[in-house]
């Protein structure tokens, strides 16, 4: 029973990990918390729904189209909203992202209505491994999320773009005098964030119904995961997401499922009192 709950929590954590990575990349490079991450997830799910249910594409191809569409949307939103405010405070950008969140959610509502929708996928019987019940959706989620995380790891550690992103995140002024244009890196960051969030939207849409409030189910947990892992650290975001996923699911053994998020926040509060920089964040020294 506990093993089943831990497995379920792990898979939930993988869905959360992708937008948590996107959020932490945005924070690292542009230094503001993007509140629109939940709405972006919703829009990503809707893009995939349109490609799957209206254009009758297999879900894999629908996810690819959704990733491209949300990447373009993210770059466009940055150009229109965040770039003109680039030199403003993080609070200003946070409030702007709240506005973006409401606009994206209501555009989705205007185009597709409030009805709950779901992908057109074949229903498959759950598999059993060592007394554990594993749904096909969980297998797809785990494989997709792990592949995406591996791709992010390779990009950040072994490519010029990844090194530049780490440089800008660490010290934008030094990166500039080493020839790295922050705006160019920001555009690529939004592309990556859009792809990750769209994939998360598809995985979330497999887990529950797609409606305009889909992203709201995840936004607070995504923020919590990024903070828990250490804001600005993508690997910390993964660790935070998996931790929260497991904690939330295992808490349902003791308390009603409606209260599971409360348990997560209590765990975060305790951790941040003991280690405010998060699990993998570094202590910032004020000079």
């Amino acid at each position: 029973m506990i093993a089943q709950v831990v497995l379920n929590g792990f898979v939930t954590g993988m869905i959360i990990a992708l937008p948590a990575i996107a959020l932490t990349l945005t924070y690292g490079i542009l230094k503001f918390p993007n509140f629109a991450i939940g709405a972006m997830l919703t829009v990503g799910a809707y893009f995939a729904y349109i490609a799957n249910a209206w254009l009758h594409l297999p879900l894999v191809w629908a996810a690819v189209l959704a990733a491209v569409a949300l990447a373009i949307t993210s770059v466009g939103v940055d150009r229109l909203v965040f770039q003109p405010l680039r030199e403003r405070t993080a609070i200003t950008l946070l409030v702007a992202s709240m506005g973006v969140s409401f606009v994206l959610e209501n555009v989705a509502r205007f185009v597709l209505g409030n009805s709950a929708r779901s992908f057109e996928v074949a229903i498959a019987r759950p598999q059993r491994y060592f007394e554990l019940r594993v749904n096909m959706e969980q297998i797809y989620t785990a494989a997709t999320a792990l592949s995406a995380m591996l791709a992010i790891y390779i990009i950040l550690r072994h490519t010029a773009l990844g090194r530049a992103m780490r440089a800008v995140s660490d010290n934008p002024a030094l990166a500039a005098v080493r020839g790295i244009d922050r705006e160019r890196i920001a555009r690529w960051m939004w592309v990556i964030a859009g792809v990750l969030t769209a994939i998360a939207g598809v995985l979330a849409g497999l887990d529950r119904a797609i409606d305009p409030l889909l992203g709201w189910n995840y936004v607070v947990t995504v923020f919590a995961a990024a903070i828990l892992g250490g804001l600005g650290n993508p690997f910390g975001a993964v660790l935070g997401a998996l931790t929260l996923g497991v904690v939330e699911e295992t808490s349902t053994l003791l308390i009603p499922p409606n209260y599971r998020q409360v348990v997560s926040f209590c765990a975060i509060a305790f951790l941040l009192l003991a280690r405010p920089q998060g699990l993998l964040g570094s202590v910032r020294v004020k000079r």
């Binding site: 010029a160 090194r163 530049a164 780490r166 440089a167 660490d170 010290n171 002024a173 030094l174 990166a175 500039a176 005098v177 080493r178 020839g179 790295i180 244009d181 160019r184 570094s282």
Partner: protein, 240 residues
């Protein structure tokens, strides 16, 4: 015979943060191969001046040129591509990256040919053997003097025409200060033009071909070290 075009020049530059100007009416011509040092009391605008040259602070008035290239409206990354390399006083390496990654990231977005980059890397590693020995070490684990050498090496990866150094000896022991300035002399001996702002007046006068005294954001004096020590009371100059 016409004099050579200055490698770095400013004409009537003024700049600052917020409402007022920190530096005003700065007109400099730095000749190729020169070591040009700027000294002055705290708050004189030295750091602002070098950040203006690097492109980190906008010029409000005036013009900056690198040879015949107008730099005034170029961003900091664009200036690196033209041949201006800047070493900040502090936070001048990426501590969470290895030494090798610090060197790589210094050229990857300059649009240079890979072969030229590899050749420059070999030259830099030969110039900085202490850096070459530890490519896989995280830069954050280096001592202050080692970080400074790495910062120089990263700047040199761009094969600059002018090297801007912001107080290279700050916070270092006397022994390390000697090593840093020896390295600067070695780089200059290869033909590199060096523009230094420095609090260490003794070293600035020793190493400079010309010295500029900046006080309250304006040029108070520009002369050779010999002329300054022979004819001027620096104490009086600094206090205005």
């Amino acid at each position: 015979m016409t004099p050579p075009l200055p490698v770095l020049s400013t004409a009537g530059v003024a700049a600052g943060y917020g409402a007022g100007d920190i530096i005003r009416d700065i007109t400099i011509d730095v000749t190729p191969g020169e070591v040009f040092t700027v000294i002055g009391p705290n708050g004189s605008g030295k750091s602002t001046l070098i950040k203006v040259l690097a492109g980190l602070v906008r010029t409000r008035v005036g013009e900056i040129r690198l040879g015949a290239i107008r730099l005034t409206h170029l961003s900091a990354p664009q200036r690196v591509s033209t041949g201006v390399a800047y070493v900040p006083q502090e936070f001048n390496v990426f501590p969470n990256m290895t030494i090798g990654e610090n060197l790589k990231v210094s050229t990857e977005f300059l649009g240079r040919e890979q072969q030229a980059t590899l050749e420059q890397r070999e030259r830099v590693l030969a110039m900085f053997p202490e850096v070459a020995k530890r490519l896989k070490l995280r830069a954050g684990l280096l001592s202050g003097g080692q970080r400074q050498m790495l910062a120089f090496a990263c700047a040199m990866m761009a094969a600059p025409k002018v090297l801007l150094l912001d107080e290279p000896s700050a916070g270092l022991s006397p022994k390390l200060v000697g090593e840093i300035f020896d390295k600067i002399e070695t780089l200059n001996a290869s033909g590199l033009t060096v523009f230094i702002i420095e609090q260490n007046v003794k070293e600035a006068l020793r190493i400079g071909d010309r010295v500029m005294v900046l006080v309250n954001g304006s040029i108070r004096l520009m002369a050779t070290p010999g002329e300054i020590t022979a004819k001027h009371d620096l104490h009086k100059l600094f206090l205005g």
